[in-house]
Subunit: 230 residues, 2 copies
């Protein structure tokens, strides 16, 4: 059986970071082609002998040198058959979270420049990357409430106020500080360390740590992480 089909498969990654109470996305300035100098998501074509997963990881490595904490398939964009002006491309988009606080980006082979952009100050994006980004943002918002993925955007040890702020920022909601802390602590998956953060102002704040092992154990026993707010 001969299949006459001329469609290319690409992978794209939406990489979210969180610094200074802002949600950021990693973008790459295109180095070649008719889209030269346009900003785009990390991504590229899949090789013949490479799984989709390997492809995203390779692109992340090549274009940014980044190591992500969380990666999952988001959605496959293939309904707009002219999304890429060169030829038909179906793009499998991935959703990634990274602790960007101590991260050094490298601009490598395919990209001229790799940079973090606040989600609220985005440049014009190549292809249909704007709408992919919207999809990713929705996924982040909803997943934040039923999976402990917020921790993947923070350093290993973090302040409670940072966690709280992350939730407020991403969900675009006010959250009662006391109720939030009570709820999170009631799960028993976040533990106090002996250390203190280096705040300049106010009372020193303890650092906390997410216990992933404990979380996995609880999940095995039917535990469901869940944060709902009015």
């Amino acid at each position: 059986m001969k299949i006459d089909q001329n469609i290319k498969i690409a992978v794209d990654a939406i990489v979210f970071g969180y610094t200074e109470n802002k949600l950021n996305v990693l973008l790459i300035k295109q180095k070649y082609g008719i889209l030269k100098n346009q900003w785009a998501l990390v991504g590229g074509f899949v090789k013949d002998k490479e799984s989709l997963n390997d492809a995203v990881n390779r692109e992340l490595q090549e274009e940014s040198g980044i190591k992500v904490n969380y990666l999952e398939q988001l959605y496959t964009f293939g309904d707009n058959i002219v999304r890429d002006p060169r030829f038909r491309v179906v793009s499998v988009a991935y959703f990634a979270l990274v602790n960007s606080t101590k991260l050094v980006l490298k601009a490598d082979s395919d990209a001229e420049d790799a940079k973090w952009f606040s989600i609220n100050e985005l440049p014009n994006l190549a292809f249909d990357h704007q709408s992919i980004l919207e999809t990713a943002r929705n996924r982040l918002q909803s997943k934040l409430t039923y999976q402990p993925i917020g921790f993947d955007l923070l350093p290993k040890e973090f302040l409670f106020s940072e966690l709280e702020n992350l939730y407020c920022t991403i969900l675009e909601k006010e959250i009662d500080r006391r109720n939030f802390r009570k709820k999170i602590l009631s799960f028993g998956i976040v533990e106090e360390t002996e250390k203190f953060g280096n705040k300049i102002k106010g009372r020193p704040a303890k650092l906390y740590r997410f216990n992933k092992l404990k979380y996995n154990q609880l999940v095995d026993n039917g535990f469901l992480f869940d944060i709902n707010f009015a």
Copy 2:
């Protein structure tokens, strides 16, 4: 820029139906190729000038003649690079729900036979369709609790006991009849009709109808459908 890539894109559909308190899946017996006579999901290759969505709908039409009530993209399977023994195929899987009570299947061009199988009595499946099906089943289970998709498996007018049974069957849980009814009715999206179902035994049961319009209105005002059980 020339891309040397030789991967084919297919779409597959997991079509769920519900009859006589059983969850069923639509399978197709392959007519051609080395997989002749094996059972497989509805699916096929995407055409060059056809959106992914059009491709699934076409395959559903061609192979089963079915009209689905609900269709959404499920997941893209492309990590197993030898999932199809002939050449590399990346498959975009779709998840479909249909009211199968009055449905006539047609076996058409590509398929010898189209048949419903109870989810508990599946034959061996071609390719990695077994694992795709697992993914779909998980999606169905989780989505049932936070989206009103159960109605897409039932006729327009249905008995409360059918709805309840559907939830019990798919979630594999016992559900308190009174609490279930109370909860569903409290949403105000299911309304009583004047008609009665034609039960043979017991007290006649009213038929109910899902008011999709009302549901959409409520959603616009921030309503969240949600059924949680212990």
